[in-house]
C-alpha cells in the first residue's frame, strides 16, 4: 500500500483536504481495496479507542487539588533529596575544616599535607613502626 496515500488518509481525518488531495485520495480509495480496508480498520480502531475514554478522575478531584495547593506536601523523594543535600554540605564543611587544620600543622603545601598522609620509610615498614610516632 502506498505510504503517501496512507498519510493522506490519516490527514483527511483531521481537516478537509485541499481539492487536489481530496480527489487523489478518492481515486485511490476507489482503486485500492487494501486502502479501503485500511480506512475501515482505522475508523473501527478509533471508535474502539474512544470507547475507552475516561473523562473523570476520583471524586472531589478539584477539591483535592486545591487542598494540595493550600498545603503543599513533600514527597518522600524530595525529603530524601533534602536530607542528602544537608549531609553532603555538612561533609564538605568537615573536609574543608580538617584540610585547613592539617595544612596549618604541615611543613609544606601539597595534597598529602591537606589529607594528612604520611609516607612510611622502608625501615619503618620493616619494624612495623607507625610513621607518625
Amino acid at each position: 500500500m502506498n505510504r503517501s496515500f496512507t498519510n493522506l488518509l490519516l490527514r483527511s481525518l483531521d481537516v478537509p483536504l485541499p481539492e487536489k488531495d481530496r480527489r487523489t485520495l478518492e481515486e485511490a480509495l476507489r482503486n485500492s481495496p487494501e486502502l479501503r480496508a485500511a480506512h475501515t480498520e482505522f475508523m473501527d480502531l478509533r471508535s474502539a479507542l474512544r470507547s475507552t475514554g475516561h473523562e473523570s478522575l476520583n471524586p472531589f478531584f478539584a477539591e483535592r487539588v486545591m487542598e494540595r495547593l493550600r498545603h503543599p506536601r513533600v514527597s518522600i523523594e524530595e525529603f530524601y533529596l533534602s536530607v542528602f543535600r544537608f549531609i553532603a554540605a555538612a561533609a564538605a564543611v568537615v573536609v574543608i575544616v580538617c584540610g585547613a587544620y592539617n595544612l596549618s600543622r604541615a611543613d609544606a603545601l601539597g595534597f598529602d599535607s591537606v589529607f594528612g598522609f604520611h609516607h612510611p620509610t622502608f625501615q619503618q615498614v620493616l619494624t612495623l613502626e607507625a610513621p607518625f610516632e
Binding site: D14, L49, S51, T52, H54, L57, F61, R68, L69
Partner: protein, 188 residues
C-alpha cells in the same frame, strides 16, 4: 460568585488566578479535569497513580501561571504537562519494575488469556490492555490523536515532534494494536 466564575472566560480566570484568587483556579481545574483525565488514564491506565499525576499536572500549571503567555490554549498546555508527567511516570515505573520485579507485581497489567479465558474482560478492557502494551511514545500519539481527537498538527505540537513522526508512529501503533486486538477478540 461561583456562577460568575463559571461564566468567565479562560483568560479572565487566568488573570484572577495570577492575582491569587484560588477559587478562579479551582474553576479552571474543574473545566479541564476531563481533558487531563482522558490523557493520564489513556497513558497510565485506570489506577491510583493516574489520579496523582492528574493532580500534579494542575499543581505544575498553577506554579507556571506567571510563565504561561497564553500562546497555546489552556487545554493544550495542561495536556502537554500531563503527557510529559505521564511519560516520566512510565519511565519511573519501568525502572522500578526492573529493580524490584520479584517484589512489586503491583504495576503489572492483568493479562487476558488468549486461550479463551477472556469472558470476564469486556471489549473496553481488552482495548485498554492493548493500549497499555504499546511503547509510551506510540501510546502518547494514540491517546492524543485517536482518543482525545487532537489533529495531527496539534499532536505534533504537544509532543514536540514533526508531523511526519506523528503519522509514522500512528501507523506503527495501529499495526501493533491490530495484532494485539486480533489475538484477543477473534475468540470472543
Amino acid at each position: 460568585m461561583n456562577q460568575d466564575l463559571k461564566q468567565s472566560t479562560d483568560g479572565e480566570l487566568l488573570q484572577l488566578s495570577r492575582s491569587g484568587d484560588v477559587a478562579a483556579f479551582g474553576e479552571l481545574v474543574r473545566r479541564y479535569e476531563s481533558k487531563v483525565a482522558a490523557t493520564v488514564r489513556g497513558m497510565l491506565g485506570n489506577n491510583e497513580g493516574a489520579d496523582d499525576i492528574a493532580q500534579e499536572t494542575f499543581i505544575r500549571f498553577y506554579n507556571a501561571l506567571d510563565r504561561f503567555r497564553e500562546e497555546a490554549a489552556v487545554g493544550t498546555y495542561v495536556t502537554r504537562i500531563a503527557i510529559n508527567l505521564s511519560l516520566n511516570e512510565l519511565r519511573r515505573r519501568k525502572r522500578r519494575r526492573i529493580l524490584f520485579k520479584p517484589l512489586d507485581p503491583g504495576d503489572d497489567v492483568e493479562e487476558p488469556s488468549a486461550a479463551g479465558d477472556f469472558e470476564h474482560f469486556d471489549k473496553k478492557e481488552i482495548v485498554q490492555y492493548a493500549l497499555e502494551k504499546l511503547d509510551p511514545k506510540f501510546r502518547a500519539v494514540v491517546t492524543l490523536r485517536l482518543i482525545e481527537g487532537y489533529t495531527t498538527e496539534e499532536t505534533a505540537s504537544i509532543l514536540g515532534v514533526p508531523v511526519g513522526t506523528v503519522l509514522s508512529r500512528l501507523l506503527r501503533a495501529q499495526k501493533k494494536l491490530r495484532t494485539i486486538l486480533n489475538t484477543y477478540m477473534e475468540g470472543s
